[in-house]
């Protein structure tokens, strides 16, 4: 054995998935591994002329992900996070760090890198509790780094990738191809049905080029803007408010630009920021948001003129 060098990302995330499952098993939490290494080999283009000794992962063209993503049963979230901390994972961002990213928390392990722990998945409007129940009903087991990990059904995996693609615009075209374009009509029908159950029809439509069919939905603007690489922060902010499902969510979306996101800065600096750094960061963000709002107002004035 030799001193541990930096573990290659494609291996590190897989070991992270296996470790997260072990922590979940230890504390009795239900988790579902999503994206990256958790994706079934049947989703995606097959490797042409694979070698005779190709492993299962090579046959499936392993997906590269920067972190290990898991979705946690809401009732088990607190215990799971506590267990992760016991086993050396540091929470680097809180769930309410905002930016609309209040669905997940980033954790860091010195050897295994990043984990993204989701309490819900962007695009699924169904309440997190029944949403997880629905995904859990037909979950399956998928070995990652020789550890059996719980993953959603293949249909749900397709849907999650498509929701992710809708959120990340043009950069995720490969996922759309793998999960939709090359899918059979039967597979697509199952994904559409599942999307309806989870309240995810609008982002699915966005990913698959049918967003305008949902122009009357409150979340339509938000998913239209996600697909626009030049969407302004101000427009996204307004769209988040419009898409909010409850008064609490609406208030959270409205106040988000005013929140002091200390952990976001800590992530960038890779350390705890000083008070002065926090103050500068906060002022810069406020000014940037203000400038964005003013630009938006100016554009509207010019259009009216």
């Amino acid at each position: 054995m030799t001193e541990l060098p930096p573990i290659p990302l494609i291996l590190r995330t897989r070991l992270a998935h296996a470790t997260l499952q072990a922590v979940a098993d230890d504390c009795g939490a239900d988790i579902l591994h999503i994206k990256g290494a958790a994706i079934d080999a049947s989703i995606g283009p097959p490797t042409e002329d694979p070698s005779a000794d190709a492993t299962m992962d090579r046959l499936g063209l392993p997906r590269l992900s920067a972190d290990a993503d898991v979705l946690v049963r809401p009732a088990h979230l607190r215990e799971f996070l506590a267990a992760l901390q016991r086993y050396g994972w540091q929470a680097m961002t809180r769930f309410d760090t905002g930016g609309g990213a209040d669905h997940s928390s980033d954790l860091w392990h010195e050897e295994l890198g990043w984990a993204d722990v989701h309490r819900r998945f962007p695009g699924i409007r169904l309440n997190a509790v029944p949403a997880f129940d629905r995904l859990w009903i037909d979950h399956r087991v998928h070995p990652i780094a020789h550890r059996h990990c719980a993953v959603p059904s293949v249909d749900a995996q397709r849907l999650v990738l498509l929701l992710h693609a809708a959120r990340n615009g043009q950069t995720r075209a490969d996922d759309v191809r793998d999960c939709w374009t090359t899918a059979t009509e039967t597979e697509r029908k199952r994904v559409r049905t599942l999307a309806k159950e989870l309240g995810a029809e609008v982002p699915l439509a966005s990913a698959t080029g049918h967003l305008d069919e949902y122009a009357d939905r409150p979340e339509y603007d938000l998913w239209r803007l996600y697909a626009d690489d030049e969407a302004s922060r101000f427009d996204v902010w307004r769209a988040r408010i419009k898409a909010a499902q409850t008064a609490v969510d609406r208030r959270h979306a409205m106040l988000n630009p005013l929140r002091l996101k200390a952990d976001t800065l800590a992530l960038v600096l890779r350390r705890k920021p000083t008070t002065l750094e926090l103050a500068r960061f906060y002022v810069r963000r406020l000014l940037s948001n203000l400038f964005d709002a003013q630009s938006h107002a100016s554009q509207r004035t010019r259009r009216r003129a």
Binding site: I7, P8, L11, R14, L15, T19, D53, G88, E111, L112
Partner: protein, 110 residues
């Protein structure tokens, strides 16, 4: 003596991903990871597959088993002590790893 990978480890081999032939073994749930290269990697993989490590390694190296048994045995004991392998009493069904059939010949090239 036969061995197998403990249930409390995860492991992944760079060679399966077109990377360097480095085996990473992670102890769960802490995530403490070690890397095994060269002969150490070979020994662990052979052991985890339920092979008679000394016999198989001797065949690969073209040496009498007795010549390598003490060192290999010592290394295996170290792996067991660190929780990276477990001893299996009696006969052990071979643990089939993906791509297992060519594993030994592939390891010869290390």
């Amino acid at each position: 003596m036969r061995y197998q990978a403990p249930t409390g480890v995860a492991y992944i081999d760079g060679a399966d991903f077109g990377l360097l032939a480095e085996l990473y073994v992670t102890q769960l749930p802490w995530g403490d990871t070690v890397v095994l290269r060269g002969v150490g990697r070979l020994i662990w993989l052979l052991a985890a597959q339920g092979n008679d490590v000394v016999e198989t390694l001797a065949k690969i190296a073209g040496q009498p088993p007795a010549d390598i048994a003490p060192e290999v045995g010592s290394f295996l004991t170290g792996l067991v002590d660190r929780g990276l392998l477990v001893e299996v009493q009696g006969s052990c069904p071979k643990y089939e790893l993906p791509g297992d059939n060519s594993r030994v010949s592939a390891l010869r090239d290390d």
